[in-house]
Symmetry: C2
Subunit: 669 residues, 2 copies
Amino acid sequence: MSHVSAQTMANAIRALAMDAVQKAKSGHPGMPMGMADIAVALWSRHLRFNPQDPRWVGRDRFILSNGHGSMLQYALLHLTGYDLTIDDLKAFRQLGSKTPGHPEVDVTPGVETTTGPLGQGIANGVGMALAEKMLAKEFNREGFPVIDNHTYVFLGDGCLMEGISHEVCSLAGVWGLNKLVAIYDDNGISIDGDVRGWFRDDTRGRFEAYGWNVIGPVDGHDIDAMDRAIAEAKRSADKPTLIIAKTTIGKGAPNRQGTAKVHGEALGNDEIAATREAIGWPYAPFEIPAEVYAAWDHKEEGAKIEGEWNAMFAEYEKAYPELAAELKRRLAGDLPEGWSDVVMDALCAAEEAQETMATRKASQKALNALAPALPELLGGSADLTGSNLTNWSGVKSLNSGEFDARHISYGVREFGMSAVMNGIALYGGFIPYAATFLTFSDYSRNALRMSALMKQRVINVFTHDSIGLGEDGPTHQSVEHVPSLRLIPEMDVWRPADTVETIVAWASAIERRDGPSSLIFTRQNVPFLDRDEVDADAMAKGGYVAAEAPAGAGEADVILLATGSEVGLAMKARAELAALNVQARVVSMPCTSIFDRQDAEWRASVLTPGTPILAIEASKTDLWWKYMSGKGDVLGVDRFGESAPADVLWQRFGFTVENVVAKATALLK
Amino acid sequence: MSHVSAQTMANAIRALAMDAVQKAKSGHPGMPMGMADIAVALWSRHLRFNPQDPRWVGRDRFILSNGHGSMLQYALLHLTGYDLTIDDLKAFRQLGSKTPGHPEVDVTPGVETTTGPLGQGIANGVGMALAEKMLAKEFNREGFPVIDNHTYVFLGDGCLMEGISHEVCSLAGVWGLNKLVAIYDDNGISIDGDVRGWFRDDTRGRFEAYGWNVIGPVDGHDIDAMDRAIAEAKRSADKPTLIIAKTTIGKGAPNRQGTAKVHGEALGNDEIAATREAIGWPYAPFEIPAEVYAAWDHKEEGAKIEGEWNAMFAEYEKAYPELAAELKRRLAGDLPEGWSDVVMDALCAAEEAQETMATRKASQKALNALAPALPELLGGSADLTGSNLTNWSGVKSLNSGEFDARHISYGVREFGMSAVMNGIALYGGFIPYAATFLTFSDYSRNALRMSALMKQRVINVFTHDSIGLGEDGPTHQSVEHVPSLRLIPEMDVWRPADTVETIVAWASAIERRDGPSSLIFTRQNVPFLDRDEVDADAMAKGGYVAAEAPAGAGEADVILLATGSEVGLAMKARAELAALNVQARVVSMPCTSIFDRQDAEWRASVLTPGTPILAIEASKTDLWWKYMSGKGDVLGVDRFGESAPADVLWQRFGFTVENVVAKATALLK
């Protein structure tokens, strides 16, 4: 150890945070200055990491759930030796920098997840801690703890007020995630001021009610006390730990500390000068003395512990070559050998069976075919397993209390479920999917957005996708959700029409490595489509000609463009139109975003420019107009649904052959 | 009292529930059968209501937060004498009936709020209980408790698992809503089975941590014990009460009670026969003996208590005629006399001042002008008051602990905030509005949907509306939210361009009686538009010609169609285009849904059919294509944002005069 005091190490963080925010004239100095001492205790005395290899599997995970305090993390990454230079810190919040306003995974080395939307960081942490348990259970062997890390989460009052913290901390208690350690920055201040006006929870009592190990309150500026609290947390045998750390927001800024003002704006030159004086930091902005760098430098220690792990893994590889290879494959996110054969077999079976069934049921059949070949598939449902049909034959449930499970009953916690999946995907080794009714995708919407922003392979299953669910009525009937999900950048939304398209959708979602997919399934039966040919490659392009105009491709008078349960209706209308000497092509477009990514030639071959289009989808109509280059119309649902049997509703909302024929022929006048 | 036992009264509920679900072959018998005894205790011994006047102001509010058990409520409404006949019960879940799958306000007399999406009913209840406190504080006088009721909420495991229950129950504790009584149907079963697999909260400990009075566990099938528990709850002086009632789901069905199977499907004829036998209910389906009706009938008691209240109110009216008139106005939802003059004055002042400012700041100016004239306006923010600028000069905050406040710091609880607002609006007497950053509208999305489904006058303020917020980066920059909010039926989304349009938006939202509005404001400054004329009536039509083509209306070569911060850009581009001899009309469309409701003539006068349109909005582009009847293009943002100063981002994303000119002229080739 060097002669540099822990307090000085903390002050280096304070200085970098206030100076970077000041330079950017934007940002949040309060949290980094308030949590600097805690960060010293964790990062210099407990956290296992190697700055030279940010993706080392054996590292502890660190999450800044209160992501506005990003400069805390950037300062730590810089000081400990990650590839984040002082110039990167000077570029805080500038275009293209490695130091954006909030921490972003894949932008900054050492950042494990993108945070900022409060409460989701702790949820990601719960997912990572669960993934660690599950992967350890599967791959560790006597003497070979190849998967073995803690997950540390910093969070603040905001995270604890958010409902999602309730959902995921309750789950962490049920799951007994003892290697999860959350440190609560209990500074008593949120943006509107003293939190007692709106937040008076007994947080210890609350977390004890979830079955957590609660430590504190501890003085969050007493580095040794925090050190001891973390050490105690690491000894927890069967419970996650919350350390309540009492801190002063903006600690060190003599005139602003302890106020809401220090939270989210630059201190200004006068207060910065006063802070330098107060904390005894005589150095220029962005100047860190060499001995302070030396005290913080973690490269040697990191290389040592990673080296030890590598040595162990080499022995593991010798003792268990197949397990080691499988672990490497899983962590790399590669699909198993023979995967495409499995998909092809499932497609052939579906083509042969030609079954009429609900696509949620077709989805379960797909899972039965695909999941046994894919041990990384980790399913779940927000307490609707029997309705979403997300479980497959013989799958083991996590409710068993065993971590070698592959299906999770998340309880009625949609938002938490989605954010936990993001954490699982970020940890690696699994492809998580989970389900709820489509309407309740609303509850998890910002976690869906975050999975897209982070380009994570997370698969959302949303069943009961329209008025076709019938009697449960408008609260449960999606109208706006399919188009609304399509609006999220990077999110592929699949709404397959039958058993074959359902398999294609699952395969696409599983094979996609750069983003999330949402699979939208019906409650009610849909027919097997009487296509011109079953061409999975065409389906995988997102939109394709399901049935050409009877007289041939060049003869289409009108295109019936439909998705999901409405493709069958379009097929019937096509036959009816043929009897009226109207040539209709049916286009099935299960995934608009993938279709949009195809080349112009493909798109023109499906939607011939100038040919009238009638789009048919039991959702809000607005998004379909972008495909119209000639005359066009949309048969959709532009109002809330109603409670009634599904067949009655289809009539009432005009989803009949007669109405499709009428609307299609009207386009030809 | 009659000779009919309380147990028999409960069995009448059980029979109606199982028979109605069986007839519909759809629905949820488990909860009504499990909570029937609790319902007897509450509805026959405590609840104050008059079945002949469901809207009587003095009534206790009853909310079924576990709304899938709708047949419980329908049975109660029928049995106690509301206008809900046995034929209505027979039409359970049929098209156009008064007994839809989940309770819907304004469809069924006596239903206070629409429930089904779990957790939101208790949130509505918190809003109603808060509104009661605030209205009582304002209008009650010594000896005249004209506002004086309890709010009772039934809820189940699902509601307690949902994160929103954390948010709102924490708030209810802070606010000390002692007249809120929640009764927890602790039956240990959710859809996936025994809840211990995913839900092991110590719910007593959790609610004590929120500062609640917790009673129980009580045997939920012991009607006298429940009676005593409710009586005790009503004595709580300063805390909301949670009664934990241990029940058996599907109680009475001998082979299915206590199982997940009884939750959500019809019992079937055999089990129904067995249940009749088990509970001693020998009557035919939908047959209720006259003495059971008599025991349940609440019409006489209801008329009596409402009569007493009416007598009190008559005296109150004499003693405080102005207060009484104001209370009547407020409860009727009418705006005060002189309102339109207040709006006009604000418009004139804004027109005169011609200020360049952020629309969030313009919104605060509007509030300063409008709020003093509108005592029903009840603002708030999810811990972003100083950023959302939702407070007006001198407004009193609820954090003061005083209920005569008009601004609420809700803490970082967006979903809870929105659902509490729904409860406030449903209670009446207030027009609630509250704010967060636009991106975090995701968190509250299903509550926004519910406000639309219920057609409530709730006003959502969403600031920091685009990449224009700058450095906070993609987690905070809305891209999809404006179009996504527009997809919610009945939701009017306003994105005003300057100070005048901001006032028009506020006035429209306040004057609208049949649905919610979302007001979208910028963080950054926008110019005062150099319009052809300031015509508030035109603006109130949702879309209007802000600046005609320089050569006249018939001469427009191209229409620049923009909203919010992009209208100013369109105006600059119009001038630049004129220099190039291109005639451009600028259309400002602050509210697309209202524009869509205008007659064809107005729409054609704004968007001349066939004239090329360049739509400009810093959001996903998809929704604009529906306005294109000739050539068209959209300048928008179809990817996630980035962290950088706003002016850098505008350049990077192509929101420059040069780019608008290039895209507009390209349309003319």
